[in-house]
Every structure is written in C-alpha cells, then in structure tokens.
C-alpha cells in the first residue's frame, strides 16, 4: 500500500529520486512503494513505463534469465545526421539506460517452464527498432524454434528506427519471418503489448501472437500522431489504447501488470502438453502420421502425475488396445 501523508507538502518538498508524480491521478508516490507495486499506481492503476531489465525481473523465475547477444551493438551505417548525429543519440541512450540497444533477450524459466524471452525498452530512443532490435527478436525466435520452447516478446516501441533507414524496415521482414516459422513449428508465441506499441513494431511481431496480451491503457497504434497529422487521414475519435483493441478484435486480453506473469504461465500450461514427472516441458511436437492425437494431447511420453488422471487412463487404455 502507498504511504499516504496526512497533509500535502509543496511539490519541491519531494526529492525527485524518492518520489514520482502519477500522471494518471497526480498523486505523489513513494518510489520504493511504487517499485513494490510493479510500478503501477496503487490509487488509479496507472501503469508506468518500465525498463527492460525491470520487466524481465517481474516476469521471469528469479535468477533464471541468462541474457544472450548482449554484445550486439548498432552501427551508423547511413552516417545519419538530423538535429543530432545518430552516434550521439545512441551514446546518450546507452549511458542513460545501460543498454546497447532497445531490446534484451535470453532464455529463462517462468513457473519452471523454459521460455525464450525478449523485452523491449522504451527508454532507449523510444524503443525504436533497428537492426539490433530486429536481430535480437529473430534470435529469440530462432532459439525458441531450436529448443522448442515458447517465445514471449514484450513490446514497448515508437516503431522503426528512422536513423537506420530501410535496414530498420527490413526488421519487419526478419521478425515476421521467424514468427511464421515458430508458428509453423507449433511453438506458442505470446505477444505482450505495453505502453506504447506503435508503428512498425505493432505492424509486425507485436500484433502476430498466438495470444496477444496488452497492459491496461497501453497506447497501441500503427499511424503516429505527427505522421497522420501531415496527411489526408482523419484522426481516430478516440486514442487507441489496449481496451480499444480488445473490442476491435486484435488483443485477446488486457492484463494488469500484477497478473501478467501468472497469466502467461497459465496460458503456456494450456498450450503445451504436460510432460513426464519433473522433466522440463517442451512444446508439442508436430503431429506425426500414424501417431494418435491422444499422445500429442497428453505429451510425447504420457501425462504428468498431477491431476491428469483421465489422460493417464486414456494412455493406458490405448496401450492395452495395442497389446490386445
């Protein structure tokens, strides 16, 4: 619960590193309390944007995440200069975030189940996707494909990174290419859209999950404000947030941050057959000719020993049949 002060002191009485003002309800929130509530305002439910590493820590089993490809770093292949030179923008972002680019990925476990997790970071140049981000998402997908573990991507992005030009645009192809292959291999892919998920990220892997989850009130849109303002397109009558997309058919569930980890674990436990005993579970193998559906439904080698009695019975009766 938040600390409620008996009176409201002047604004500058709050040291910036100790207190945060909620943009939802204007309440001053004690940072330590805010961290405990996963950076969700306890008064109004406002979901603050969070860094990628914080997100990883909230989702993954403690200590199970092993970052991969942390040494990938952007290059200024176009020698791009706008109001600033691109290298200067990158450097500033790297210094302020401690990241080399706007995404991290690695294998880990959630509820004991191995997953490939990739998380974007909006604080790194607006979470924009250039070749490094696209490469990390692709590698996360390739790992999911090779190890047959679910793919989970948490998006937070303003879209493609303009400073790397069409190389950034091609990340839509790379990421959709691997997403299609993960899906064809019958490996679950859960997309989590957080505030904001826009532009080319929304128009590629973020929208394409087997299950699309979104955080409450997250801004999700393809055409950005400034872009569409310059064209003939009329504005949407409402700002398209997570709840809008739920009713328009592109988001399966709007999930408050406090339930996000549990929901992902629950969904995975539905999409993946149980495995034997305490062994690590893996995604369903492709249905093979001549193999019964029951064996796929209940896992490659049978059912686990926790409340799957029917499935065990089914497996047994099948065994009897083939012996009889």
């Amino acid at each position: 619960m938040p600390v409620r002060l008996p009176f409201r002191p002047r604004r500058d009485a709050y040291p910036a590193d100790l207190w945060t003002k909620c943009p939802g309800c204007a309440e001053m929130l004690f940072n330590k309390q805010l961290d405990k509530s996963l950076r969700v305002c306890p008064h109004c439910g406002h979901h603050f944007r969070i860094p990628a590493r914080t997100r990883v820590a909230q989702l993954i089993d403690s200590g199970s995440f092993a970052e991969r490809d942390g040494n990938l770093q952007p290059v200024d292949s176009l020698a791009f200069v706008d109001l600033k030179a691109y290298p200067d923008r990158l450097l500033a972002a790297q210094l302020s975030t401690g990241l080399r680019d706007a995404a991290i990925w690695g294998p880990g476990t959630m509820g004991g189940r191995p997953v490939a997790l990739c998380v974007m970071d909006f604080f790194f140049i607006g979470g924009s996707m250039g070749p490094v981000v696209g490469e990390k998402i692709t590698r996360a997908g390739e790992y999911a494909l090779a190890e047959r573990v679910p793919l989970i991507i948490v998006s937070a992005s303003g879209g493609a990174r303009m400073q790397e030009g069409t190389y950034s645009l091609m990340q839509l192809v790379k990421t959709m290419g691997i997403v299609e292959r993960v899906k064809a291999a019958r490996i679950p892919y859960i997309s989590v859209m957080t505030d904001p998920t826009t532009g080319g990220v929304f128009a590629s892997f973020a929208v394409a999950g087997d299950v699309n989850l979104a955080e409450p009130n997250a801004l999700i849109r393809f055409a950005g404000d400034r872009v569409s303002a310059g064209t003939i397109g009329e504005e949407l009558p409402v700002v398209p947030r997570a709840e809008f997309w739920l009713s328009h058919g592109f988001v399966d569930r709007v999930v408050p941050r406090a339930q996000l980890r549990d929901e992902i674990i629950a969904i995975l436990s539905m999409l993946i057959p149980p495995s034997v005993g305490g062994q690590a579970e893996s995604a369903a193998p492709p249905l093979a000719r001549g193999r019964s559906i029951l064996s796929a439904i209940t896992g490659a080698l049978g059912a686990d020993n926790s409340g799957e009695s029917r499935a065990v019975e089914a497996g047994q009766s099948r065994g009897e049949n083939s012996n009889g």
């Binding site: 019958r186 739920l246 057959p273």
Partner: protein, 328 residues
C-alpha cells in the same frame, strides 16, 4: 414435463394428447432463459478457463465466447454461443445472435486447437445468426461457410454439445463434430419454427405446427441420425440443477475425447467426413431419365418417386442407406 416429453419419445402411446402442443412445450423448454449457457457450464466443468478475444479482422463478438480450458485435466479449446443472464447482458451480447466476427474468432481458436493438439468442445445455443444489416454485409454467410468447412478438416477431435436451440446455419457453424451431443430438452432445426411458419404457412402463427413438422426435438433428431447422444437433464430441466447438468456433460465429453483421440489425425478427419457424407436420404429411380413433361402420367410418377419410409419398397425404387450413426 420432462417425464411427459420422455414418454412422448419413448412410445407413441397416447399419453401426450396433443403432439403439437407437446413439441411446443419442448421448444419453450429449450428456450428457457434460465438454462445454463457456455460460461455457466464451464464454471462447473472446467478446472480453469482463460477466455480469449477477437477475430483479428474486425472485432470481438460477445455472442460467441471462446478460450482455453482444462476439463478433467485435459487441455481443451472451448467455443460456445453465449446469451445474457439478464437484460443488460443480453443487450451487450446481442441476445446471443452472432455476427461474422464470432465465427472468425471461432476459426482462429480451431486453428490454435489443431496447432497445439487440443480437442475442441463447442456449445450450441442460438436461434440463428444475427439477421441484421451489419452481419449480412460483413459476410455472415462466408463466416458460417468457412467455419463449417474448417470443422470438416480440423485435425483434432471436435465434440459438439447442443444445449438449447440449434437453429439453422448459425448453429451449424459450430456444430460439425466427431460426436454431436444434445441435451434432452434441446432442439435442432434447419430454420427456426417461426421462420419456417412464415415461409411455408405464410404466417408466423403456425410456428407450433412447423416445429412439429420439422421434428425438432433432440430425441427425434437422434432417430434421424443427426444427433449421436442425448443426455438426460436433471430434475425439471438443466436450469434446475446446472451443476449436475455440467457433470453429466463433462463425463460424456471426456469419454468422447478419449475415443476420438485414439485415432491418428488422418483417421479422425476421414471418420468425421464419413460421418456427415451420407447424411440425408434419397431415392434411386431405375429410370435414369428425368420424368417426361407430359400430362396424364402423374400417378405413375407418384408411384415411382414417393415412398414413405414406412411403406413397403416399390420395386422401381431403392432407398439409399439411412445416415450412418455410430452409437458411442
């Protein structure tokens, strides 16, 4: 009332004095607003249920609910029509009448089921697809056709449970399965009795008569080979003991999943196709030519063409085999 209906089916022994009225009472029972719908039944049947939303094209149809469930420990995709529990919910759910988005959401879930090796359970209770402009122009016909088509080739077991009204193409969109189960008081028809009366009798007043003529009750449909299993309802009907109703459904569904799950996907799809392929009897005339267009031969043609199933077979006509139905 349930007993009377059972008697009526069990033997035409005159206990039901007015057969038309008896059928109409059955129709009213099937439409009883208190009957448990998909979400109510899942509350009792499922260990866990995660509803998923949206067709990925246009919207999320509240008249069809769908999601991932564990039922008796079995990972299952559940899709079902959902009427409201009260007026407010009924308005929100469009009185359970689906738009194309509902069938497209259903197809997305079927595809998930196939891909992740989960059997599909559908609950059917709908008077028909929403007949309004928005549904028509966004392709309700296409939604139903494709949903039916996908079900004829889905490589995972599909069990259909008709819980109330199984009305026309709108119901059929979710009603093609390896086993089609119906609750005792449910109905199944090619068109709503009101629609049938409006067209054939040119008067909605004759809906009772139409319901009788179409043989809409679950047990009649079982006799016709359309429905495989009829589940008896507890007490005065499913709504009087939804927990017991759900228990009975769950038992049947899990047994059917197990039976169909023993097949390979190829065998399963072939068996489903073979189940529906012979549905609908027809005669075979020995004369390959169609009837000549001349007067005076009406009696001759009538004699050749129309043999009621109860009458002895006319030598010139073989009746095709009745629809196959496996008692499971």
């Amino acid at each position: 009332m349930v007993d009377r209906l059972l008697n009526r089916h069990g033997a035409a022994d005159g206990q039901a004095d007015d057969p038309v009225a008896t059928v109409w009472a059955h129709v009213q029972q099937a439409r009883n607003l208190k009957r448990p719908h998909t979400l109510e039944l899942l509350k009792y049947m499922a260990d866990e249920f995660i509803e998923l939303h949206g067709d990925r094209y246009f919207g999320d149809d509240p008249a069809i609910v769908a999601g991932l469930a564990k039922i008796g420990g079995v990972r299952t995709v559940v899709i079902g029509f959902q009427k409201g529990q009260d007026t407010e919910e009924n308005i929100r759910r469009n009185f359970g009448l689906p738009h194309p988005e509902g069938y497209r959401k259903a197809m997305r879930m079927m595809e998930l089921a196939e891909r992740f090796a989960m059997p599909v359970l559908t609950f059917v209770d709908v008077q028909g697809a929403f007949p309004g402009a928005a549904a028509e122009e966004r392709g309700i016909a296409d939604g139903i056709a494709r949903s039916v088509g996908m079900l004829t080739r889905l490589r995972t077991p599909v069990v259909v449970v008709i819980t109330g009204e199984g009305g026309s193409g709108g119901a059929l969109g979710l009603a093609v399965g390896d086993t089609v189960v119906a609750l005792e008081n449910s109905i199944y028809s090619v068109i709503s009795p009101e629609g049938c009366a409006a067209i054939l009798w040119r008067s909605g007043e004759q809906s009772h008569q139409a319901a009788y003529a179409m043989k809409v009750t679950a047990n009649e449909q079982k006799d016709l080979g359309i429905i495989d299993i009829v589940i008896a309802e507890p007490g005065e009907g499913a709504h009087t003991d939804p927990a017991e109703m759900a228990r009975r459904i769950k038992e049947v569904v899990l047994e059917q999943f197990e039976i169909h799950g023993r097949l390979t996907p190829d065998e399963l799809v072939d068996a489903r196709y073979a189940k529906f392929r012979p549905m609908g009897p027809f005669g075979l005339a020995e004369q390959p030519e169609t009837p000549p267009e001349r007067p005076g031969c009406a009696g001759w043609i009538r004699g050749i063409l129309f043999r009621r199933p109860s009458l002895p077979q006319f030598p010139g006509t073989r009746r095709a085999a009745p629809a196959n139905r496996e008692e499971v």
